[in-house]
């Protein structure tokens, strides 16, 4: 397991900085997380956090619209941003000689973003095309929305997706989005990770030079997730899609302080690859389904959602497949994994983890992810120790936390 050297520091204005040098790397990753996501939006005003992911590239005091992306690419770097329920991340991976430029670009937009009526209008149209392209115009494009709605009411902070409602965006004034930016986009609500070809001392000096003078301010409190009732039983929808799908889902622990390792291993024993239990049972032996998969949608401050899904074989009712999935989970909850099953799941987990750490861009993102979820970036180094300490009974217990009955979604092909 490679060691990840880290230096952390907090600037006077509250910006937290972590530098993870790697002299073998050809590049340096600049990874800035603002602790704001769709969780921080209000009913009727959704999609703001994601809208800023767009507006942040529309220019600032010394940078023209679109110039940020153009400049980084023109120096052989890669640049992008993503928005989730709990954070918005901005990242540039650049040759070492362009590190200072990347920090200057981040500082300029943190302090002087151009939130003009013109930028707002244009990016609102781009976001509408993004929603059409990625959701409305894709088969199964509303699955995530339906699953979320099965577990959270529309007024719950996790009750809507980050892309938000286009009606909300249309009804929003420029003042409202400006206030959202002023509240959340400040040094004390951000964490900056530099990973790769950077000397920690030099890196800190450059960060201090470009971001140290920005004014500090108190970070706003996140809203409290309200208590809410359990899963919503089952739902059947008909859509013009090629195949029926069955989703069984459960509320699992928030990701704050929890890496879900035992749960991920349980999902791997059940669904990862041809050798997994549910594949062998549902696909190979009983011909109930053609595919099974599992994943968890992580939420920081309230229940994460763990899903097992299957594509039923022709003529097999969805309920029968869902019953078989739940029986498979119950079997693992009763007996736990065999030694071979656990060995396989651990070996696959370890390879995936090492692959994620192999690029500076992902390493920087993982450091920020662990910082948000555990309070310190070095939590990333605990992962292999956690993994090797997992016992068969831990995996059994994780499967036992997926209690019956699961929440079910039958996503059916419209009959023609």
């Amino acid at each position: 397991m490679p060691q990840i050297e880290q230096v952390t520091h907090t600037l006077d204005n509250g910006l937290e900085v972590c530098i993870a040098p790697d002299p073998l790397s050809p590049a340096v990753a600049v990874n800035l997380w603002y602790e704001v996501g769709s969780f921080d939006e209000s009913p009727g005003r959704t999609g703001f956090a994601h809208l800023f992911e767009h507006l942040m590239f529309q220019g600032s005091a010394h940078v023209a619209s679109g110039e940020h992306m153009g400049l980084v690419e023109a120096h052989g770097g890669s640049v992008n941003a993503t928005t989730s329920t709990d954070r918005t991340n901005y990242f540039e991976t650049v040759p070492p000689g362009a590190l200072e430029l990347a920090l200057w670009l981040e500082a300029d937009r943190m302090s002087s973003l151009a939130i003009s009526a013109e930028n707002f209008q244009a990016q609102r149209e781009v976001v509408k095309e993004e929603k059409r392209q990625r959701y409305d115009n894709q088969p199964y494009g509303d699955v995530l929305e339906l699953l979320t709605a099965q577990h959270f009411s529309p007024d719950h902070p996790y009750g809507h997706l980050p892309i938000g409602s286009m009606e909300d965006l249309d009804a929003t004034s420029l003042d409202e989005v400006t206030q959202f930016f002023q509240a959340w986009y400040q040094p004390s609500n951000a964490r900056l990770v530099l990973a790769g070809a950077v000397d920690p001392e030099e890196g800190l000096r450059l960060v201090e030079r470009h971001l140290g003078a920005l004014p500090g301010g108190s970070r706003p409190p996140h809203q409290q997730a309200p208590a809410h009732p359990g899963g919503q039983g089952e739902l059947t929808v008909q859509r013009p899609v090629p195949h029926n799908l069955v989703y069984t889902s459960w509320r699992t622990p928030p990701s704050a302080g929890d890496d879900h390792v035992a749960l991920d291993l349980a999902l791997a024993v059940l669904t990862d690859g041809h050798a997994s239990r549910l594949h062998r049972q549902l696909v190979r032996t009983e011909s109930l389904a053609q595919e099974v998969h599992g994943f968890t949608l992580h939420h920081l401050r309230d229940a994460s959602l763990t899903m097992l899904l299957a594509r039923p074989a022709d003529g097999i009712p969805g309920a029968r497949v869902a019953d078989a999935i739940e029986a498979g989970v119950a079997g693992l909850a009763a007996d736990g994994p065999t030694e071979e099953e656990l060995e396989r799941a651990v070996a696959q987990y370890e390879r995936d983890w090492l692959l994620q750490l192999a690029t500076v861009e992902e390493r920087a993102d993982l450091l920020n992810d662990h910082w948000l979820r555990h309070g310190h970036p070095s939590a990333v180094e605990q992962r292999m120790a956690t993994l090797s300490a997992i016992t068969p009974d831990d995996v059994r217990a994780a499967a036992a936390s997926l209690t019956s009955p699961a929440t079910r979604l039958y996503y059916e092909r419209t009959s023609q």
Binding site: H62, E125, N137
Partner: protein, 427 residues
């Protein structure tokens, strides 16, 4: 604080492999990459799908994906279980002119994984039920593509470019009609004839010191070919026209616009690569700035030239608000006419990107193995990458403009699209 200056002084080059042949004839490229704890294997076999029987199209794809379900020594899922317990995972792909089987595994376990990998290559079991399952998966994947705007536009583009009567105009993985006829015998026959080391290359990349690679390769040592591969005949493009794949409920129109052009071996290749990046590849490309940033008609334009075995392919496109798609197509044609020559600044930015992104694009063993395999698959040496970078550095702004004007004719652009009927003029 004024804008910092940037100093780019590093010189990067693509690593060169140790190259040798196994006794049976398989060529090996071994990249020793210290620090890369996850190693990558890529076996590329230049088996062209033009060799598939017309009524069994998709057999190459089924043969690939069913290969790891079981081997004669480890049937019924045992082989993949053995590989996975050693931290290995398999993947692969079939393209028009090659089949690729790959694996990622911890470098220190390569010596255990390679013999299992060789078993998948040599003696897949292809049990009746496994073949039937993979035929069903490919039929399902075909149906899924019919519902995907991007896939429908891409198929419309291939149909328009090559026609239904050429293999390249039809889906690589077959159609429900051709897949439905595929039997275990067909798959075994395809495997026997085309999974051979003739012109094939095994790429191994990772921290190889102490991995026992040499000894482990004995598992593939006596793999040999009984006959050479038949020559591959590239198809000619049809005259430019437009094909719309109708998706009645679509809320956007998706366009793929382009043409066949010169490939890697042409002296204009690097210049064309630069021009296509300025036109449609960069975020700050001419088309993306106009259609996304100025007009808000799309989430993004993407495009570029990609190399094929004997030639190259220019594509440009994206998904557009349905009522703006015809206008977007006019804009693409207008920009492709290149009335305004490329500027020094545009070409310099594209060059710095295409050269400068290389270290990032080749950061892991898997990146390097994939890049090398893509070259090996079409008979190019691994040194191509560094020669190409030198050509990118040498291309002048004028040569980039001239190459575009010489090879790209706006009136000869083929259009594949998906969307509601009537959202584009067709024919």
């Amino acid at each position: 604080m004024s804008r910092p200056t940037v100093s780019l002084q590093q010189h990067w080059s693509f690593p060169q492999p140790e190259e040798f042949k196994l006794p049976g004839g398989l060529r090996v490229w071994a990249f020793d990459l210290p620090g890369q704890h996850v190693a990558s294997l890529e076996l590329v076999m230049p088996a062209a799908v033009t060799q598939e029987p017309r009524d069994r199209e998709g057999v190459a794809t089924v043969a690939l994906h069913a290969s790891d379900e079981g081997t004669r020594a480890h049937p019924d899922g045992q082989i993949v279980e053995l590989m996975e317990r050693r931290g290995a995972t398999l993947d692969g792909a079939v393209a028009q002119t090659w089949t690729r089987l790959g694996a990622d595994a911890p470098a220190h376990r390569l010596s255990e994984v390679l013999p299992l990998f060789a078993e998948v290559v040599h003696q897949p079991d292809y049990a009746q039920a496994d073949v039937a399952h993979h035929v069903e998966l490919q039929v399902a994947a075909f149906e899924s593509r019919l519902a995907s705007p991007d896939a429908v536009a891409a198929q419309a583009f291939r149909t328009a470019l090559f026609g239904d009567d050429h293999r390249e105009g039809r889906p690589v993985a077959g159609t429900p009609e051709t897949l439905g006829g595929i039997t275990r015998d067909d798959v075994l026959a395809w495997h026997r004839q085309h999974w051979t080391p003739a012109e094939a290359t095994l790429v191994v990349a990772g921290a190889l010191a102490g991995s026992g690679l040499e000894q482990a390769l004995e598992a593939l040592g006596d793999w040999h070919a009984d006959s050479p591969r038949p020559p591959h005949e590239p198809p000619a493009a049809k005259p430019a026209h437009t094909v719309l794949g109708e998706l009645a409920e679509a809320v956007q129109t998706t366009l793929q616009v382009g043409c066949l052009t010169v490939g890697r071996s042409h002296p204009d290749w690097a210049a064309l690569k630069l021009g296509a990046h300025v036109m449609a590849g960069a975020f700050a490309s001419r088309l993306n700035l106009e259609l996304r940033e100025r007009r808000g008609h799309t989430y993004g334009v993407r495009g570029g030239v990609s190399a094929r075995r004997h030639d190259g392919l220019l594509t440009m496109g994206g998904s557009f608000r349905a009522d703006a798609a015809a206008e977007a197509l006019d804009t693409i044609r207008e920009f492709a006419a290149l009335e305004e020559p490329f500027t020094d600044a545009e070409v310099a930015d594209a060059r710095r990107y295409l050269v400068g992104i290389a270290p990032l694009a080749n950061e892991t063993a898997a990146d390097i193995a994939r890049q090398a395999a893509a070259l090996a698959a079409v008979g190019q040496p691994a040194s191509f990458v560094n020669d190409h970078f030198a050509a990118l550095e040498a291309a002048s702004t004028e040569s980039v403009t001239e190459a575009w004007r010489r090879h790209i004719r706006p009136d000869q652009l083929t259009v594949g699209a998906s969307g509601p009927a009537g959202s584009l003029p067709v024919g």
